[in-house]
């Protein structure tokens, strides 16, 4: 890309609403994954997928406005996601050690 069209960004060629549509579809896929699967690890992965859809939209807006602040925000979102995954997987390991399952429907102790 950089060799083909040196100094040109995709945002100058591709309309903004294409990116918005793509990110909406990716976010919807993440929501679908949370509702569809019962394995808690896959649900955590779907949450990561939703975060990535939002990250991509932030980068697209950043490119459109020529504003680096949004890209710094994406960097922070990645940092928080990494910390979240570390703690979340540790909790899931603990749950598995006590109940021998990662089935989210089995873990309904907090259900009212």
């Amino acid at each position: 890309m950089l060799l083909l069209e040196a100094g040109k960004s995709a945002i100058q060629v591709i309309p903004m609403n294409w990116y918005i549509t793509l990110c909406a579809v990716l976010f919807g896929l993440g929501v679908l994954g949370v509702m569809f699967r019962r394995n808690a690890i896959i649900i955590l992965m779907s949450i990561e997928f939703m975060l990535n859809a939002v990250n991509l939209l932030l980068v697209a807006f950043s490119a459109q406005r020529s504003d680096p602040n949004a890209q710094v925000f994406v960097f922070f979102i990645m940092a928080v996601a990494a910390a979240e995954v570390a703690v979340g997987l540790a909790i899931l390991m603990m749950v598995y050690r006590n109940t021998k399952t990662t089935d989210i429907d089995f873990l309904n102790k907090l259900k009212w």
């Binding site: 890309m1 950089l2 909406a24 679908l32 569809f36 940092a79 910390a83 997987l89």
Partner: protein, 169 residues
């Protein structure tokens, strides 16, 4: 509309991302889900490069494909999850989930389809995604959040170690 190489790259990367996202949800084996998610993350990194966010593309590959997904893969292998141990929801809940997710997706796309048609307000600067430029912003305007994120990582690390210990008295 004139179809350029950028359009073709955008379409290919979007297709790969959406297809592997669908495969993440619907593949029976959790290990396959992790591998398809890595493919989707590489497609998103390609999108970042198209948008001239080179630093973020590299960080994305290192953090997500390199660190987080390896963590997921290790946990799935440690718990020995496979196709046989994979729990399944009843069919009517699965159908309801697909309908609800599809309706949400259609609503989002329909509501946002005509948004964002504003023209570029200023001449597009292709250098904002480079390391030097981002580092300048990160270490001047966002220095305090950057330092706080290091404390967040310390807390996450201590928390993960505490949770992972065998039996806490």
């Amino acid at each position: 509309m004139h179809l350029t190489i950028t359009h073709i790259l955008f379409g290919t990367l979007s297709f790969i991302a959406i297809l592997s996202g669908i495969l993440v949800i619907f593949s029976k084996n959790p290990v396959h889900s992790v591998l398809y998610l890595i493919v989707a993350f590489f497609a998103i990194a390609g999108h970042y490069i198209l948008l001239n966010a080179q630093f973020l593309a590299i960080v994305h590959i290192i953090v997500y494909a390199g660190a987080i997904m390896v963590l997921f893969l290790f946990v799935i292998m440690m718990l020995n999850l496979n196709k046989e141990t994979e729990p399944h929801k009843p069919a009517w809940i699965q159908i309801a989930a697909v309908i609800a997710g599809g309706v949400l997706m259609v609503t989002l796309v329909g509501a946002l389809r005509n948004a964002g048609s504003l023209p570029l307000t200023q001449p597009n600067d292709v250098n904002i995604g480079l390391v030097g430029n981002l580092g300048k912003v990160l270490f001047t305007d966002f220095l305090v959040p950057f330092e706080i994120s290091s404390i967040l990582f310390l807390a996450a690390m201590v928390g993960a170690v505490m949770l992972g210990k065998k039996n806490i008295k």
